[in-house]
Each structure stands twice: as structure tokens, then as C-alpha cells.
């Protein structure tokens, strides 16, 4: 055990059992997986990405590059989890990843022996011969070796949620600066959200031995937490990472609601929050960087600040054996704190190796001033370091080494709007630049203002400033007594040498790789990154990018700011893909729209089909029908011979009213609408302004100033939007009003020779005889004893047919009434399949023909585009490319009636070579016509109107089919329209 006997923010009374690579250990509440592993003397926790080098815990936060594990098991297996932020719970199961065989004896460690062959960019230079070997041999091998953790390949069993939060001030980070900011704003009465990625508030205060008001800092943190919790206007959100800064003060955050529990139970695992903050405080602290030196990647070598955190917060020494010693390598004062803290905990310290010749001494330890580390030993854990002071080099046995290279302000979120951070020669780091997200104020260490006293004051001042900007007054709060620790350092970036010195641990990028990139002219930062993969690992270079820049700057003879920075992009740390989808998956992926007769159809055993967001009845199987065709054929024949009813509510309905309604419709329809008589309906065609056919439907005139426009189901929203565009943006001078009434009216098609007979039984007193209510008539009337309704004599099927609309809530009842009243007529409900067959038989265009690529002429509707008036698309429809298009909608009938024709087949002249040059058109829609007892199809054919009677080929090479089809009129049924008018 290497747990210290006292101290730490852990609950020593409670034991938590957990396992790592199958071995059982115990830890305590308050531990992370990393602290618990270290407390159990486990130093080796993973393997690096490329060379499979043995690795140990390097950091104490989300910047961890090495300690990545597969957490949990079964479908909850979670690859690439940073042990340093995984909160320990009882029963936690974790495994190391990215090795073949055991962690200790990883077979792929052989890569390390071949490291000289695997230098930066090597794969761009080889694996090219023989050509076919890439996909078959090289790439699969590379892919197997690459990657990190493994997905279970099973659906994620947990649930997720998303929500919106609104606040005056979002405080990101609950360290000294964040707590001061939150309390200042909280006491001022502002709406505050305080988000902290850790499960405990306090930030570095928990990891250092700074005292506040002369007492342990954690006591002050507790006091702050209690006061903030007591304020109704403050929302405390621990375990919440603000991962992205988006436009207009919107921040993305993930709350890990149940990741610290064995299973979420009835809670969601995580929640995605979209936080709209009038102002935000970035108090995200700073991340320590290291100093590359030879063989600096062994387990046992970690950031000096992390070492302090483990000792102070978790009461863990970094040593495997209590008899070992710890050394600290630093380029500034900060590293000395680690030696002092460890000594205070009774951990043996070899000394501090400080690169500065004039390094100050802060305590009673051995000081190697002007010294560097030039080598290390220890295969699975550090055993010795070589210290070089001047020309003298000597080996010292140590069990752990802390490395302190300075701190990088956490500028990530401040740079999400592509504002570049700015180099500060004083703190030797990039600070948030002036072009950060509007309303985001960096404070404390994130703004380069390290030291507890600085951070507290800056946090408070940041909150006052932020609230002042939105007109809220906040008063300074009394801050605890605190000090700023000495923090001078020198610009020392790496120890030169011949051996490998790691810069980016996870991706195995060394100083040599950077030198090679330089040599090969991959010198711009972006080229360097992409050539070496530096900073592209799961830690996004949080501990490595600045060191790499410094090395490249040295090689090019430029300064660090001249060398540049890389972009910071969301997310700040990895965010589970599931939570970004929120709960909108599975059945909730898209809202379902149900028709007014949905439950009626469902009760009758209808099969449903997705039509955009709608669920529509596809067909109504009857007992004994074993194939969908049986049902559909029966429904089609019933309509042609008797009467069928079908819910057509999904078609768009737009109510158009106003003195200028007729004029308005004249302008938006290609054909004339203003001349339509009251009580009549006209078929209408709309074009897009670019001249192509857009949508078709009917337009009914109920009164001089009142029309009802119908649209296709697919374009209902689009047509309404387009009409509103013309009404509001182009012709606001017209007196016309629009409203979409698609959901307000249930509309039932009643079709077939007996449809009038059926309707007469439900209509109250209106005369709907052929003479009184002819084809294309419409009127408002009442049915079923006073229910207001609208009746349209229109037909999609080609039969005598009507559409009857009633307020949506009566749709279900109307369907029942029609079934009841029509029982003796054999009334048959039909679904979308039969609807489709009926319209193909009649030659009506639908979505496959009105696909946005076709013209009125192609549809055989060229004459509908009125030349007497201007209308949307009219001018553009006359351009040569459209006017000269000779393809026409035709009917196609296989020469042998029982041979199916597939929609999507291409059309060719008989015996023509089937290639793109000879392509004559394509089949748009096809079906079996029970009425004609033949397969039939519609299609667009070159010069189609002049080719009736010709036998051509419908070719479907994709499925090896070729069918001889005769070109016929698209109107297979009743071409003269006599049935419509009877």
C-alpha cells in the first residue's frame, strides 16, 4: 500500500471494491480510479498508441494522456476512459487497453523495437507496392494495431436527456476564481450556473496545501458550497463539463448524472445542456506542461502538480515501494512545492533538479541547480534517473519523478470562436486572446493570473464586471486571507539529447519526430501536427502542444508566437456520442404524426408506413390474405367497382382569404386561378421560380375571397412557407391572409361508382346530385345531423370520387359512420398502396414524377403554364434547356402482362447498346394493375408523346432485368374522363 496514513479528501471509513485487469483492489469514496490504483501500488496502467510503451498515470485531471481504460463491462463497456477522472464506485470494473496479450507482456511492444522504421510520416512513404496489398494486407494490419479501446458493439442500454438552461452568469470551473465569481454574483441576486467538471468543488484548492484564512482551503470550499447551495438563484452543477462555446452566449455542457454509480437505475446516465448565458466567466484554471527529456515516458514519471494532487487530495504517494525516493524536475519555483508537500507527508525526497543555475531553495532538500535529467531506467516503472549537472552525469535510484514545466492557462473555450490566444513572455504561456466569444471573461489561472489570492480577487472582479455589462450591480464580497506562492520560471522547453524524448505521450511523438518534420519541411504548426499526429490524441495535446511549438521554434529560429498556435475546437474533453443525441433516438428519433383515423385503422389491423413524419395506413389485410398484394388488389378493385374510403388528411391544406386572394393565387400558380367560379375546384400546378415543377394539388373557391389550396403530403410545409414568402416578402401590398389548416381538418376520400350513393346517406340536406354538384364542385355543408363539413368532388383515382373534410376530431367518427352506412355497398377502406395503384392506373403524377427535376412540359402539363400572366417560375420555364426538353410522361405496359417492371429501370430503344449515351429515360412508378390484370408503369421517355405504340426496353442491369414494354398513354383507365363526370 502506498496510501498515506492520514489526510486526503477520502472517506476512509468506507471501502469500495473494484477490479483492474481482473485483480481486485479496494479504495474509498472520494477516490478516482487513478488515485485508487496508485494507492494500491499499481504504476503500469496502459500502453501507448504507436510503440506500445508501458505507461503510468501522468496527470490528475482530464488532460491525462496515458491512463486510459475500458470501464465497465457488457453493453456498458466504455473505451478510452481516463482513470484520472473516473470516480470510484463499488464494483467498478476496468481493463487496460490497446495491447495484445497481457498489459505486462504486450506482444505489440515489438513495435518499439522497430521504432526507427516507424518515424513520423513513415506510412506515407511505403505500403504502395504491390497496389492490391493495401486493402488486403497492410491496411487491415494497421487498423488492428491502431485504435485504442474497444466498443462492445451492443446498443447502449442507458438513457440520456437534454435540456435548456438560462442564466445571467455561467461560471465555468469551481476553483478559487470560480467560487469567488459565483458567490459574488449569487449574493448580488443574479441567476448563476456554476459548472465544475470534477465531482468536488474547489479545483486546485483541493490539491494544494494553500491555507485560506489560516485554515485548510477545503474548509473554505465547504463553506462556499453550503452558501451557494442555500441560494435559490444559484445552480451548482458538479460533474458537468462545459465542452463548447457556441454563438450568442450559448454553451454546450454535459452533466454526468450517473457515471459515478454502478448503473444509472431509473436516472439518465448523462444530460446534455444547452446553456444560454448572458455572460460567462471562464475559470477553468491551468494545465501543467512537462519538459521532454530522454526516456521520459516511464510509469512513475508524472506531472509535479499531479503528484501534489495525489498526495494532498487523495493521500497517495506516487511510489510503488515505500522505501523508494521521489525526485522533482523543474524549470521554475512551482516544482519545489511538490518536494515540500511530499516531505510534509513524510515521503522520502531525493531532491529537486532545477534547470536554473541560480535556482532558489525553498526547504531542506537536495537541490541540483542548473541540472537536467538525461536518462531513466525501469521497464514497467521508474527505477533510476540520470542527473546531469554541467559536465557531470550520475545515476540515482528513484521510484517516481515529478516534472514541472510551467502552467498553460486553459484557453480552450476562449478560442472556440477562432480567436487566437496571445503569447505572454512574462508567464511563458498563451493567454486568452482579445477575440474570444462575446461575453466570456477569463479569470484567474485561465487568464494567466495564478496564485490563490490573485485568483480569488480576479474571480470576484470578473463577476462584478460581467454583471455590470448586463446592468446588474454586484458588490465586492469579503475574500479570505490568501497568498500567492512564488512562481518564477525560465523558458526551458526540452533537454537536448540523442535518445527519444516524448512530447506527446499517447501518440508517441518525440522531439526527434519534430526534428524530422522540420527537416522534411513540415514546419507550419498544422503540417507538424498532421505529419507527426502530435496533439491529435484523446487529450488533444493538452500537455504537449506548447512544448512541441517550443521545439519547432527552436529548430526554425523563430519565436513561439511566430511559430503559431493550433486551433482549439469543441469539445473541450471527450463527450459521449450518446448524450449528444440526447433521448431523441429509437422511437423518439423523429416525432410521429398520426392521422385522425390512425387508431381506427390500427384497430382494423392496418399495416402502417412512414410517409415523411406521418404514419399512414398502407393497406388493410383481411382474414385469409397472406400477401400484401392480395389486400391491395382487393382494395383497388373495390374502388373501381364499388366504393372505397381512404384518409387523405396528410395532404397539405392552406386557407387563403382576402380581397386579393384570387390575384395572389394567379401569381403563385402556373395556371389561372383568379377566374375560378365560387363553388368550384381547379387542379393547380406550382412552379419553383427557376421554372421547374414544384407541387400540384387542387384549389377550391368557397367564396369570392376564400380559397382552399391543397398540396402534396411531402411539400405541405414547403408550399406554405413559399406562399408566406410571396405574401410577406414580395407582395405585402396584396390583401391576402394564409393559414395552414392541414391538422385542423380530417379529409376522407370517398371513391368509386357508388361513392355518391354512400355520401347521400351522410350529407344532411344538400343536393349532391350530378347536376347540382358536378365534377370539380365544392361546397361547405353539414353532415350527420349538423356537423360542419366541406365536400369536394375531386378524384385521384379516376373514378367518381369526393373528398369530405370535417374538423379533425371528427375524423375517426366519420370513418366509422361511412363504414356503417356503406356496409351494404361493400364500402372498403383502402391504404396508400391502393391509392398508389389507382393513381398510376389513372396516370396522375406523384412524388416520383414531381421529383424537383422535372418540368410542366415533361409532365404533359406544359399548356397549364399560362402565357397570359406572370406567375412564379413562368419566365424561367421558357429557357432553352427547359423548353427544349423532349422527355414526356408516358405509360409503359410490359409486352407480357405478368412480367413486372421495376421503377428505376432505364429506357432504351430496342436493341440499342445500353450505355449512358443511349439512355432515353427512366421508369418513375410501377405497380400491378388488378383492373388491367397486367403490370403497368409510368416513366419519362425521350420524345415520348410521339412514340405511342413503340416497344422499347426497360433495363434494370442492377438486378439483371430487361423487360420489353409498349409505350402507351399514361391514362390506363378511362382516358376520356367519362367516369369522373357521371
Amino acid at each position: 500500500m502506498t496510501r498515506l496514513s492520514t489526510g486526503g479528501l477520502i472517506d476512509r471509513e468506507t471501502q469500495l471494491r473494484f477490479s483492474f485487469n481482473g485483480r481486485s483492489y479496494t479504495g474509498h469514496p472520494g477516490d478516482t480510479l487513478a488515485s485508487a490504483l496508485l494507492a494500491n501500488g499499481v504504476q503500469l496502467v496502459g500502453r501507448s498508441f504507436k510503440y506500445h510503451r508501458p505507461r503510468g498515470v501522468f496527470a490528475a485531471g482530464s488532460e491525462e494522456p496515458n491512463a486510459m481504460v475500458e470501464l465497465r463491462s457488457g453493453a456498458r463497456q466504455e473505451p478510452n476512459t481516463r482513470a484520472t477522472v473516473a470516480e470510484l464506485f463499488d464494483g467498478l470494473v476496468a481493463r487496460s487497453q490497446n495491447h495484445v496479450g497481457s498489459l505486462e507482456r504486450d506482444l505489440l511492444a515489438i513495435n518499439d523495437l522497430f521504432a526507427p522504421f516507424l518515424a513520423a510520416g513513415f506510412y506515407y512513404k511505403t505500403f504502395m507496392w504491390p497496389k492490391a496489398f493495401w486493402e488486403k494486407l497492410y491496411e487491415p494490419a494497421i487498423r488492428r494495431a491502431a485504435g485504442l479501446g474497444t466498443l462492445s458493439m451492443r446498443p447502449d442500454p442507458d438513457s440520456y436527456d437534454k435540456g435548456f438552461l438560462h442564466c445571467d452568469l455561467l461560471v465555468i470551473g469551481a476553483g478559487a476564481a470560480g467560487l469567488a465569481a459565483a458567490l459574488t454574483a449569487g449574493r448580488a441576486g443574479a441567476q448563476v450556473v456554476l459548472a465544475e467538471e470534477d465531482f468536488q468543488l474547489g479545483g486546485r484548492l483541493l490539491s494544494e496545501r494553500d491555507s485560506l484564512d489560516g485554515a485548510e482551503a477545503s474548509l473554505w470550499v465547504t463553506k462556499m458550497r453550503e452558501e451557494l447551495q442555500s441560494l435559490a438563484n444559484v445552480r451548482l452543477m458538479p460533474r458537468t463539463t462545459v465542452f463548447g462555446a457556441y454563438d450568442h452566449g450559448i454553451y454546450g455542457a454535459v452533466e454526468r448524472v450517473a457515471d459515478h454509480l454502478p448503473t444509472p437505475g431509473d436516472r439518465v446516465r448523462q444530460s446534455l445542456w444547452r446553456i444560454r448565458a448572458k455572460r460567462a466567466i471562464l475559470a477553468a484554471g491551468a494545465i501543467e506542461r512537462h519538459i521532454p527529456f530522454a526516456e521520459n515516458d516511464r510509469p512513475g514519471i508524472m506531472l509535479a502538480g499531479a503528484m501534489r494532487a495525489y498526495a494532498n487530495r487523495w493521500a497517495v504517494t506516487p511510489l510503488k515501494n515505500a522505501t523508494d525516493r521521489v525526485a522533482v524536475f523543474t524549470n521554475g519555483d512551482d516544482g519545489h512545492r511538490t518536494a515540500l508537500d511530499l516531505m510534509a507527508h513524510g515521503v522520502p525526497v531525493l531532491g529537486v533538479i532545477d534547470t536554473r543555475a541560480d535556482a532558489p531553495r525553498f526547504g531542506d532538500y537536495r537541490l541540483f541547480a542548473g541540472a537536467t535529467i538525461t536518462g531513466t531506467k525501469g521497464r514497467h516503472g521508474l527505477t533510476a534517473i540520470q542527473i546531469t549537472q554541467g559536465s557531470k552525469a550520475a545515476w540515482y535510484s528513484v521510484g517516481a519523478l515529478g516534472v514541472a514545466g510551467g502552467w498553460n492557462p486553459n484557453v480552450h473555450l476562449a478560442s472556440h470562436h477562432r480567436g487566437r490566444p496571445v503569447w505572454d513572455e512574462g508567464v511563458l504561456a498563451f493567454l486568452p486572446g482579445p477575440n474570444g466569444p462575446h461575453g466570456l471573461i477569463p479569470v484567474g489561472a485561465a487568464a494567466g493570473k495564478g496564485g490563490v489570492a490573485n485568483a480569488l480577487a480576479d474571480g470576484m472582479q470578473g463577476a462584478i464586471t460581467a454583471l455590470g455589462q448586463i446592468g446588474l450591480a454586484a458588490k465586492p464580497i469579503p475574500l479570505p486571507q490568501a497568498e500567492n506562492t512564488p512562481a518564477t520560471q525560465e523558458a526551458f522547453w526540452h533537454v537536448p539529447g540523442r535518445r527519444r524524448a516524448w512530447v506527446d505521450f499517447q501518440n508517441d511523438v518525440t522531439v526527434k519526430d519534430i526534428a524530422l518534420a522540420h527537416k522534411e519541411n513540415m514546419r507550419s504548426v498544422e503540417h507538424l501536427k498532421r505529419w507527426t499526429t502530435l496533439g491529435m490524441a484523446t487529450d488533444q495535446g493538452k500537455t504537449s502542444n506548447i512544448s512541441a511549438l517550443a521545439v519547432m521554434a527552436e529548430l526554425t529560429g523563430k519565436t513561439i508566437p511566430q511559430t503559431g498556435t493550433t486551433m482549439f475546437r469543441p469539445p473541450y474533453t471527450g463527450v459521449s456520442l450518446a448524450v449528444l443525441g440526447g433521448g431523441d433516438t429509437g422511437p423518439h428519433f423523429r416525432p410521429k404524426r398520426l392521422t385522425p383515423t390512425h387508431y381506427w385503422a390500427s384497430a382494423r389491423g392496418a399495416s402502417f408506413i412512414e410517409v415523411g413524419p406521418w404514419m399512414r395506413a398502407q393497406f388493410f389485410p383481411q382474414p385469409g390474405e397472406t400477401h400484401w398484394r392480395h389486400s391491395v388488389d382487393r382494395e383497388v378493385l373495390a374502388v373501381r367497382a364499388g366504393v372505397g374510403i381512404c384518409d387523405v388528411t396528410t395532404l397539405g391544406k392552406i386557407d387563403v382569404q382576402g380581397a386579393d386572394a384570387g390575384e395572389f393565387l394567379n401569381r403563385v400558380y402556373a395556371n389561372m386561378m383568379g377566374t375560378l367560379k365560387v363553388g368550384m375546384v381547379r387542379y393547380g400546378l406550382m412552379l419553383r421560380e427557376d421554372g421547374h415543377a414544384y407541387d400540384d394539388g387542387t384549389c377550391a373557391r368557397l367564396a369570392e375571397d376564400h380559397f382552399i389550396v391543397t398540396t402534396t403530403t411531402a411539400n405541405a410545409a414547403g408550399v406554405y412557407r413559399q406562399l408566406e414568402f410571396f405574401r410577406q416578402c414580395v407582395w405585402p401590398d396584396l390583401d391576402v391572409q394564409l393559414i395552414s389548416t392541414t391538422d385542423a381538418w380530417a379529409q376522407i376520400a370517398v371513391a368509386g361508382p357508388k361513392s355518391r350513393m354512400l355520401l347521400q346517406r351522410v350529407v344532411d340536406d344538400a343536393d349532391i346530385s350530378n347536376a347540382a354538384f358536378p365534377f370539380m364542385a365544392c361546397r361547405a355543408l353539414t353532415i350527420c345531423g349538423g356537423l360542419r363539413a366541406r365536400l369536394f368532388r375531386i378524384s385521384f383515382s379516376g373514378e367518381l370520387a369526393y373528398e369530405l373534410a370535417v374538423p379533425a376530431r371528427y375524423g375517426h367518427a366519420l370513418m366509422e359512420r361511412l363504414m356503417e352506412q356503406g356496409a351494404d355497398l361493400g364500402v372498403t377502406p383502402y391504404g396508400t398502396e391502393a391509392l398508389g395503384v389507382l393513381r398510376i392506373e389513372k396516370g396522375h403524377a406523384a412524388g416520383a414524377e414531381l421529383n424537383g427535376q422535372t418540368t410542366a412540359q415533361m409532365l404533359g402539363l406544359g399548356r397549364m403554364v399560362s402565357a397570359k400572366k406572370d406567375s412564379v417560375g413562368a419566365i424561367m420555364s421558357r429557357r432553352e434547356g427547359l423548353a427544349g426538353d423532349k422527355r414526356r410522361l408516358v405509360g409503359l405496359k410490359p409486352v407480357t402482362a405478368q412480367t413486372p417492371v421495376a421503377a428505376g429501370s432505364h429506357l432504351f430503344t430496342r436493341r440499342a447498346v445500353q450505355d449512358m449515351a443511349n439512355d432515353q429515360g427512366w421508369v418513375t412508378s410501377a405497380c400491378y394493375s388488378p383492373h388491367l390484370e397486367s403490370y403497368i408503369a409510368l416513366g419519362f421517355l425521350e420524345d415520348g408523346e410521339n412514340r405511342l405504340g413503340e416497344v422499347i426496353t426497360a433495363a434494370n442491369p442492377l438486378e439483371g432485368q430487361e423487360v420489353a414494354v409498349e409505350v402507351v398513354s399514361a391514362h390506363f383507365v378511362d382516358p376520356d374522363g367519362g367516369r369522373l363526370r357521371d
Binding site: 473505451p79 506515407y124 493495401w134 479501446g149 444547452r274 519541411n521 488533444q540 471527450g574 443525441g581 433495363a955
Partner: protein
């Protein structure tokens, strides 16, 4: 220097002392025969083919930042030739064929990986549309397969076939499609062009065109005037800005498209898969990251970053389609500027200004077109005639009514 396995071994054994810069950093000459504006994928490919195929001797590429910093540096790496319309399909198939021999031509491993693409089918209407498209592909000499549910299940068993909202009914597959390592493509072309004498001039921003009597004489740049008999512009993401310096307005709007990569994972997804009932497409990089994207944000933008609603929309689709990715983590997201044309198809054409040529409007499909776009643009620049597969990509197709509108949504760029 020729790259090969032998060379890698030799250098490894001799301390990597012999590697040379992948390309020179020449100072600009006073004048060139052909100046390419834009050192992205298309510009570099154009330069490569000008030098290698059309034997042009005096060619320069001017890049305002670092070479490959355009959309070639930030895309989802998919290559495919599964188009419907005759104006497009032969061109993209030509591109596919160039991809297939790219590495041997450039002597650079761009990791062209033909692992296949599958477009999923969720409705009967979609199947009909894909059948029409698959047949068009076959007729143009490309490959295509229509998969039923069971055949699909064998290839990609991990999809949510019985998604309660939009069940999967099949797919259209192009086996020769796949991915390529995007930066490697830029670098391969750059190195190949440089070796053939092309001057690639980085950090050289074009600030204006010098035009007299309707003829271009050269370009003003941040590094002085550079004369040119012909100037070819290939500046995806900046097309309108650059061409406005020549007084032109384009049938183009610039939009932001976000793309995403997950943390590295062991092999999970074999090829490229696109959802047919939402906005989501995904592949896995050789390094192990799931590379995915969806719809453009939908508003004009040059910001190279997008917003949360699209992030959510993409992952809703991803989770609906393959709920087994839920516990992987998003590593990075980014935004690229897409020059969305008015019909969703590109332009490779002369302009009304003598000697000024334009290549652009690739929407979010420019990466896969890189080889053919470069080849066709080089053809046009060198011979003054369009390449046979690119004859439809003219400026005047809009005015004359010959748009190439694969989606059938008309002149609304954010819907293409």
C-alpha cells in the same frame, strides 16, 4: 527522392539523415505561364496534372496559408462515384479511376482505401430512386449493387435494422468507393508537382487581379505582382471573395458544414455508411477514429465553425442508426466553409475575362472530386477545351436552363 519501403528501411538504419524536404519553398518568379490561385487539394492536383500530363513548364501555385489548408485539410475523406445525373456520373467515375492509381502516380501513400460505401434504404420510394441511380452508375461504367436487408445484415450486422421509426430495408452499395487520407492527398500532389518543377508558394495571398482590356495579366499578391498568361482560381470556401476581385458574382453561397471525429477505437465500421432517414454518414479512419458528419448548418457563413443544433441532429441520426456507438466519445468537431452552388454541382469553366479560369462550387463534395477536378481543370487551362467528362460544368448552364440538380431542390444552396 523516391519513396519506398526500401528507402524507409535504409533511413531507419542510418538515423534518418537522408530525408529531404517534401517540397521546396521557392520565391515567386516575376511571371509564369499558368498561375493557380489556391494551394488546396484541387489547386495542387491541377498543378500536378499540368506538369505531369500536360507538360506545362512554368506553373506556380499561390497559397495564402500553408499548403493543404483548405477543405482538403478538413473533410470526412470519402471517395465515391455514386451519382445519378449524366452531367455528373462520368466525371466522378473518372475521378474514381484516378484515385485507383493515385499513389503509384504520385509515389506517395495517400491511403486510398476502397472499403465500399452503402447508402441505406428505408422506404419503397427510396429504393426506386436508388435503383434508378444504381442503374445510371452501371451505365456510366461504375460499379453498383442493390442490397436487400439480409445481404446488408451480413455486411454490417451492427445497424439498428428494426429502428422503430425508420426500419432499414436495404442499401445501394458501391464497393469501389471508400476513403483516402485527406492530408496525404494534398501532400502527394504537392510533392509530385514540386518534383516536376511547379513552384508552390505558401503564405502568398492574392489581393487582386490585374486585368486590362478584358484580359488578365497576372495577380497582385502579398508578395508582389506575379505575371501570368493564364490564371486558374481554385479556392473553395473563398470563391465569391476571390472572384469579386475580378468583378464577378457567382451562383454560389458559402455555408458551414461541421464534421466530427471520435476518439480512437479498435476496428468497428468496415466502410462508409450513410443513413437514409436522417443526416448522418460515418466511416472509420485507419487511426481508429469514427469520422462522421451530417447536414450543413444551413445559413451563410465564413466562420469555419457551427452550432449545437446540427451537432445534436447528427448524433440523433447516429444513435438511431447504430446505437452501439453511444459509449464512444466525440474527440473533435470542426467546421469548413462550403461553396454551395445553385444546383449542387460544380463549375469548371472559363470566365468572360480572357485568361481567367474558375473551378469551384463543389458544395460539400469536393474531396472525392480532387483528382478529376485537377485533371479537368488542367485540361481546360492547358488546351482551352473542357475535359470530356466535365463539359456540363459551365457557368452558363444556369442561364440556359441546364442545371445538374441531383437532389431536385432548385436554386436553394442550403438544401443541396
Amino acid at each position: 527522392m523516391k519513396f519506398s519501403g526500401f528507402k524507409v528501411v535504409k533511413e531507419a538504419l542510418t538515423g534518418h539523415a537522408g530525408w529531404k524536404p517534401l517540397w521546396r519553398d521557392p520565391d515567386p518568379q516575376p511571371a509564369y505561364d499558368i498561375v493557380i490561385v489556391g494551394g488546396g487539394g484541387h489547386g495542387l492536383a491541377t498543378a500536378f496534372y499540368l506538369a505531369s500530363v500536360f507538360r506545362e513548364q512554368r506553373v506556380a501555385v499561390l497559397e495564402k496559408g500553408w499548403l493543404g489548408s483548405g477543405n482538403i485539410g478538413r473533410n470526412t475523406t470519402i471517395i465515391r462515384s455514386n451519382y445519378l445525373l449524366p452531367g455528373n456520373e462520368p466525371f466522378y467515375e473518372f475521378s474514381m479511376k484516378l484515385w485507383e492509381s493515385l499513389e503509384q502516380e504520385t509515389n506517395f501513400n495517400s491511403m486510398v482505401s476502397q472499403r465500399g460505401i452503402i447508402n441505406l434504404i428505408h422506404t419503397d420510394a427510396q429504393r426506386d430512386a436508388y435503383r434508378r441511380r444504381g442503374n445510371a452508375m452501371l451505365l456510366a461504367g461504375a460499379d453498383a449493387r442493390l442490397l436487400d436487408r439480409e445481404a446488408l445484415r451480413k455486411l454490417v450486422p451492427f445497424l439498428n435494422y428494426d429502428n422503430p421509426r425508420f426500419p432499414i430495408k436495404g442499401g445501394l452499395m458501391q464497393a469501389r468507393a471508400g476513403t483516402a487520407r485527406h492530408d496525404g492527398v494534398a501532400w502527394g500532389y504537392a510533392r509530385g508537382a514540386d518534383q516536376r518543377g511547379v513552384d508552390i508558394i505558401q503564405n502568398c495571398e492574392v489581393t487582386g487581379f490585374r486585368i486590362e482590356n478584358g484580359k488578365v495579366l497576372g495577380v497582385d499578391t502579398s508578395r508582389g505582382f506575379i505575371g501570368a498568361a493564364k490564371v486558374g482560381v481554385a479556392v473553395a470556401g473563398n470563391s465569391s471573395r476571390v472572384m469579386s476581385m475580378a468583378g464577378m458574382r457567382l451562383p454560389i453561397e458559402s455555408h458551414v458544414l461541421q464534421a466530427f471525429v471520435s476518439e480512437g477505437l479498435k476496428p468497428t465500421i468496415p466502410g462508409v455508411i450513410t443513413f437514409g432517414a436522417g443526416h448522418f454518414y460515418v466511416s472509420q479512419s485507419d487511426k481508429g477514429g469514427l469520422v462522421f458528419g451530417g447536414d450543413i448548418d444551413g445559413y451563410n457563413s465564413y466562420a469555419q465553425r457551427g452550432n449545437l443544433p446540427v451537432v445534436e441532429d447528427v448524433l440523433e441520426g447516429g444513435m438511431a442508426l447504430m446505437p452501439m456507438i453511444g459509449r464512444a466519445r466525440l474527440l473533435r468537431s470542426w467546421g469548413g466553409v462550403m461553396d454551395m452552388s445553385m444546383d449542387g454541382s460544380p463549375i469548371i469553366d472559363r470566365t468572360d475575362i480572357d485568361g481567367l479560369y474558375f473551378n469551384g462550387g463543389w458544395c460539400y463534395g469536393g474531396f472525392k472530386a480532387t483528382p478529376a477536378s485537377g485533371y479537368a481543370f488542367a485540361h481546360l487551362l492547358s488546351t482551352d477545351t473542357p475535359h470530356p467528362t466535365a463539359t456540363a460544368y459551365r457557368f452558363d448552364r444556369f442561364a440556359r436552363g441546364y442545371v445538374i440538380d441531383e437532389k431536385g431542390v432548385g436554386a436553394q444552396p442550403n438544401l443541396h
